[in-house]
């Protein structure tokens, strides 16, 4: 299911960046270069970014502007990347983060 907005009375929703692919937990999903990683994930219906350290509870989008860190994931091997303020690049490898993301 695609959650992208295609028609809007006020906004022009034509993607700005070129269409690329990112790999999320081994699955290829469509994304647009330059958009926040989180947008591409939500568009593809992927809601869980990480699991907490102690209770292993799921977390996802919460503040959307780089303040809360709930959307942190492992990106190209780097843990704790705030996906709401990190732009997509072609071929990025994104992983749902477990705890502090120390185990690879």
């Amino acid at each position: 299911m695609d959650h992208r907005i295609s028609e809007h009375v006020v906004l022009d929703c034509t993607p700005v960046g070129k269409e690329v692919e990112i790999i999320v937990d081994g699955q290829r999903i469509k994304a647009y270069e330059g958009e926040p990683i989180l947008s591409a994930l939500l568009a593809a219906g992927h809601r869980i970014s990480r699991y907490t350290v102690k209770n292993k509870e799921p977390r996802g989008l919460y503040c959307g502007i780089g303040q809360c860190t709930d959307c942190a994931m492992t990106v190209d091997g780097q843990p704790n990347v705030r996906t709401c303020v990190t732009p997509v690049r072609d071929g990025m490898i994104i992983k749902t983060q477990h705890g502090l993301g120390k185990e690879v």
Binding site: H3, R4, I5, E7, H8, V9, V10, L11, C13, P15, G34, E35, P36, L38, S39, L42, A43, R47, I48, S49, E57, P58, R59, G60, L61, Y62, C63, G64, I65, G66, Q67, D70, A72, V75, D76, Q78, N80, V81, R82, C84, V85, T86, P87, M92
Partner: protein
């Protein structure tokens, strides 16, 4: 080491306006923002603003954002994005971490003669059972997703809070193609402007006053698949037996905002607690200078209001910084500030604005009596 006349933190309406004024006066301005794009929260405000013609009334927030950004760039302002101020050091040295999270970050030190902190505000959370589940988010977060990133965070939404943010974001979620199942409000009255409430009522959204969310219902993955609400008594406690479940995949929380004070505190500025403005705010003068000489504040950081007041305060901060740099005479700067304060007074007026005017005066008076003259940090 880099040297700039003015370093402004936060590229929202206040920061951009400050940058424009300082830049126009001839200062070298560095504007620093942690986000991917400048504009702060202006670009997600796709509705037409209230106000007078002097305040771009009837213009959409996103349009105002584009105009401000162009004006800032035309004034020669340098903007660093994905850059976070992480420290203030003696000699007005500012530590800035640059780069996206997945890249090798750089720490850059900039020396600025004047600093303007315009870091905006943070959404308040409301805790109920399951509030951390994916699918529960700030109303502002949902608004960013739909209006900036053009992605729906979910299909069916329950909104908590009937202030202007709750009302406006409900409307914009419907514009984006989401269904808004209900708006839930614990108070006995709608908090925001009635015209915003009327828009969503016409579109069939029920507004449930004297109700609250008691729990997010979770699916096997732990994500939101429903919302339990209940009526509340006069002390806002859920009334047993009134619980019902609303089917939804998203719960958005619009429970007000509080000033983002991290850098203000880091800079050692004197604070005051002001409930009307959302919590702790920096004491400041009519020149928007804090207790620390050379450190100015503007916008929601000084108390949560709206984009137009942020913009006007930003202008004052930029003008005052330029004045202290000797780029504007006291007379010029004073006249400019006087005009802006008159416009601010017109925004802080009427049944919805008067309290903010009174509280602002209280903060200005406290500055006069407790601080008087800003001091350099020894």
């Amino acid at each position: 080491m880099l040297y700039r006349d003015v370093c402004i933190v936060g590229a929202g309406p206040a920061g951009l306006a400050a940058a424009i004024e300082a830049g126009k006066a001839g200062a070298s301005v560095l504007l620093v923002d942690l986000n991917m794009r400048p504009g702060g929260q202006l670009f997600k405000q796709i509705h037409k603003f209230f106000g007078s013609s002097a305040h771009h009334s009837g213009t959409r927030g996103c349009t105002i954002g584009r105009q401000l950004l162009k004006e800032a760039l035309d004034s020669g302002v340098e903007i660093w994005l994905q850059s976070t101020v992480i420290g203030f050091f003696p000699g007005n040295k500012i530590g800035i971490e640059r780069g996206a999270d997945h890249t090798e970050k750089q720490i850059v030190t900039v020396t600025a003669k004047k600093v303007i902190i315009a870091t905006g505000a943070t959404e308040n959370a409301i805790r109920f059972e399951g509030w951390t589940a994916p699918g529960v988010m700030g109303a502002g977060a949902a608004q960013t997703m739909i209006n900036v990133n053009h992605v729906r965070p979910g299909n069916k939404v329950v909104m908590l809070g009937s202030g202007n943010v709750g009302l406006i974001v409900s409307y914009q979620l419907m514009q984006a193609g989401c269904e808004v199942a209900a708006l839930v409000e614990a108070a006995p009255k709608i908090g925001g402007y009635a015209v915003h409430a009327a828009k969503i009522r016409r579109a069939g959204v029920p507004i449930l006053l004297r109700h609250t969310i008691v729990a997010a219902v979770k699916d096997p993955d732990g994500c939101v698949c429903g919302c339990n609400i209940a009526a509340v008594d006069d002390h806002f406690r859920p009334v047993p037996g009134t619980e019902e479940t609303i089917d939804c995949d998203t719960i958005t929380i619009a429970a007000g905002l509080k000033p983002t004070m991290d850098l203000v505190k880091l800079a050692g500025c004197a604070l005051t607690f002001n409930p009307a403005f959302g919590g702790y705010v920096p004491l400041h003068s009519r020149r928007m200078e804090t207790s620390r000489a050379g450190f100015f504040v503007a916008g929601d950081t000084t108390g949560v209001e709206e984009a137009n007041t942020a913009l006007e305060e930003g202008r004052i901060a930029g003008i005052s910084a330029a004045e202290d740099l000797g780029l504007l005479s006291s007379r010029e700067a004073g006249l400019m500030r006087g005009e802006i304060w008159t416009r601010l007074d017109s925004l802080r007026f009427g049944p919805f604005g008067l309290r903010r005017k009174t509280e602002k005066e209280r903060i200005l008076q406290a500055f006069e009596s407790e601080i008087g003259t800003p001091q350099a940090l020894s």
